[in-house]
């Protein structure tokens, strides 16, 4: 051990170092996802249950008229497919935030937060990693759905990608923001009841908004203000090679707001500080 480790330290970080960091965080998230096979299976089973059971059961009850981006009458399964894709991303976003709470409780989060790279960038990398994992799940779902005769135009598989990335970032940033306010893992069950279910059901994922408006004008406005509705519509239009500019604006804006909020919440002087040290530490 004769070599000195007092190395030459340059100031600042190169672009290559930023890219290395991003690759490392995405790689680690992918490894964790692959190690948790149950997570992958459950992420697929959930939307497939809706598709194979719920959609078939409600096919005759819920009629869907011709609404953009569809140019003809469609089966109910076709209508809810984009909603189920967004649902995968919603659950994944919350799952990522759950893992952040877990990491914080187990101490792994410290490894990330003591990195010398800017904290906003580290959180952004976490977000990108979570989105990448959600893309794997969504495309696996689309593959299975194709055998169920849910086949958008071939180009749709490509044009939907940017929409999925943006939606994934938005929902991941929301999950990150929520996780910054959760002190203990046990409190996460509340997220299911107060975030995931209301966001999913008060949206256009399962029924068109004009249908909702007929039933309850109040719920219609709630759905309109729900960013998840716009994630669903952005995905729906993109799947057919079209852009829904309102949805794009809302999702883009919400991504920025949630991301800024999450970075603010994880600031050491505001985020972890108020929680105090972990048990046993002082």
């Amino acid at each position: 051990m004769s070599t000195t480790i007092v190395g030459q330290h340059r100031s600042g970080f190169s672009l290559a170092q930023y890219v290395t960091c991003l690759n490392g965080i995405v790689w680690r998230e992918a490894l964790r996802f692959l190690h948790q096979r149950e997570r992958f299976v459950s992420a697929l089973v959930r939307p497939l249950v809706w598709l194979f059971i719920f959609a078939v059961g409600f096919r005759q009850v819920l009629g869907v008229s011709i609404v953009p981006p569809y140019e003809t009458y469609i089966l109910y399964e076709v209508y809810i497919a984009p909603g189920l894709m967004a649902m995968i991303q919603l659950f994944n976003g919350m799952q990522s935030s759950l893992s952040m709470v877990y990491d914080r409780e187990m101490g792994n989060m410290r490894t990330l937060l003591v990195s010398p790279l800017p904290r906003w960038y580290l959180l952004f990398c976490k977000l990108v990693a979570g989105t990448a994992v959600s893309l794997l799940q969504v495309y696996a779902f689309l593959l299975i759905a194709w055998f169920w005769d849910i086949a958008p135009p071939p180009i749709g598989y490509l044009t939907v990608l940017p929409a999925l990335i943006l939606s994934g970032l938005m929902l991941g940033a929301l999950g990150m923001l929520i996780s910054s306010g959760i002190k203990q893992l046990e409190n996460f069950a509340g997220v299911m009841n107060f975030v995931i279910f209301p966001m999913f059901f008060a949206s256009s994922a399962l029924y068109p908004l004009w249908r909702v408006q007929e039933g309850s004008p109040l719920l219609y406005y709630i759905c309109l203000f729900n960013p998840f509705t716009h994630a669903v519509e952005l995905t729906r239009f993109a799947l057919y090679g079209q852009i829904n500019s309102i949805a794009l604006t809302v999702v883009g804006g919400c991504t920025a707001v949630f991301m800024i909020g999450a970075i603010y919440a994880y600031d050491p002087s505001r985020g972890l500080t108020r929680h105090g040290p972990a048990g046993g530490e002082t």
Partner: protein, 273 residues
């Protein structure tokens, strides 16, 4: 005994010992740092410095404020009052420059149990912007030094407590820091594992010139020529070479000195409303 921030007299300055830091820049400088959790005061006007190539023991009972201080140094918590700098880089103004010079082993385990030993190292390297090839090379070198080369592919979950700690030290050294913080790194380990880790850390000081801040509540981990900071109820009660602190406390050994110092602190606490 009065608190002192000056290193003990007679000890060679760090640059004289290893020819580093001729400017006399401390590895770690903590200047009047205070911290509260709501109404509860955890640290009050804490000041001391750690020299490069020195072993400084931060001695305090559970609840003394050691982990809070570590969280402030590592920027996990924001600094409410005072100033912390690492080799002259203010942790608040230049966190990137400060943190890249710092390696840390926290009190709770911070390894990813589901990843392998090598994967944990590669992840840490990526967080410091170290390219994959270089990270593998450094990782292999670190694992060999710490006697973990044969466990590189093992899941961390399958390691013993001592091996996990050694891995955490390897990880903390991977980006070649100049200051190493260890927060009660030997808690829960058997006698041999404790001795091995302590020996290795002391070797880092003498052979590689790293400044070490070793938080502990175990007296037998401290040697007479170490620097010592006694932290009690969030206040520095004494700082200096162990022999000097012991002498000034009028005690025979560090254990007696600590008891005498903290007893005085209890009286002080009663005197202040």
């Amino acid at each position: 005994m009065t608190p002192s921030s000056a290193p003990a007299a007679g000890k060679p300055p760090p640059d004289a010992r290893l020819g580093r830091d001729p400017a006399g820049m401390p590895a770690l400088s903590i200047d009047t740092v205070s911290h509260s959790y709501g109404p509860r005061r955890a640290l009050t006007d804490v000041s001391f410095a750690v020299a490069p190539a020195s072993f400084t023991a931060l001695l305090g009972l559970n609840g003394a404020g050691k982990s809070t201080l570590f969280s402030l140094i590592t920027r996990l918590y924001g600094i409410q009052a005072g100033r912390i700098s690492i080799f002259g880089h203010d942790i608040r103004a230049a966190p990137g420059e400060a943190l890249r010079l710092l390696g840390v082993v926290f009190q709770p385990r911070t390894l990813d149990l589901d990843l392998s030993v090598q994967q944990n190292l590669l992840y840490h390297a990526a967080l410091h912007g170290i390219a994959r090839g270089e990270a593998r090379m450094r990782g292999d070198e670190m694992l060999a030094r710490l006697g973990l080369a044969d466990r590189a592919a093992s899941k961390v979950r399958d390691l013993s407590g001592g091996q996990m700690r050694r891995l955490e030290i390897a990880r903390a050294l991977l980006h070649r820091p100049r200051l190493l913080l260890l927060d009660e790194a030997t808690v829960g380990l058997d006698v041999k594992a404790r001795a091995d880790i302590l020996d290795h850390v002391r070797q880092l000081v003498t052979e590689q010139g790293i400044g070490v801040l070793w938080a502990t509540h175990l007296f037998d981990e401290i040697k007479p020529n170490d620097d010592l900071v006694v932290l009690h109820q969030g206040r520095v009660l004494a700082h200096g070479e162990v022999t000097r602190v012991t002498a000034e406390a009028g005690a025979q050994d560090i254990h007696a000195a600590f008891m005498r110092l903290t007893g005085a602190a209890a009286e002080f606490g009663r005197a202040v409303p």
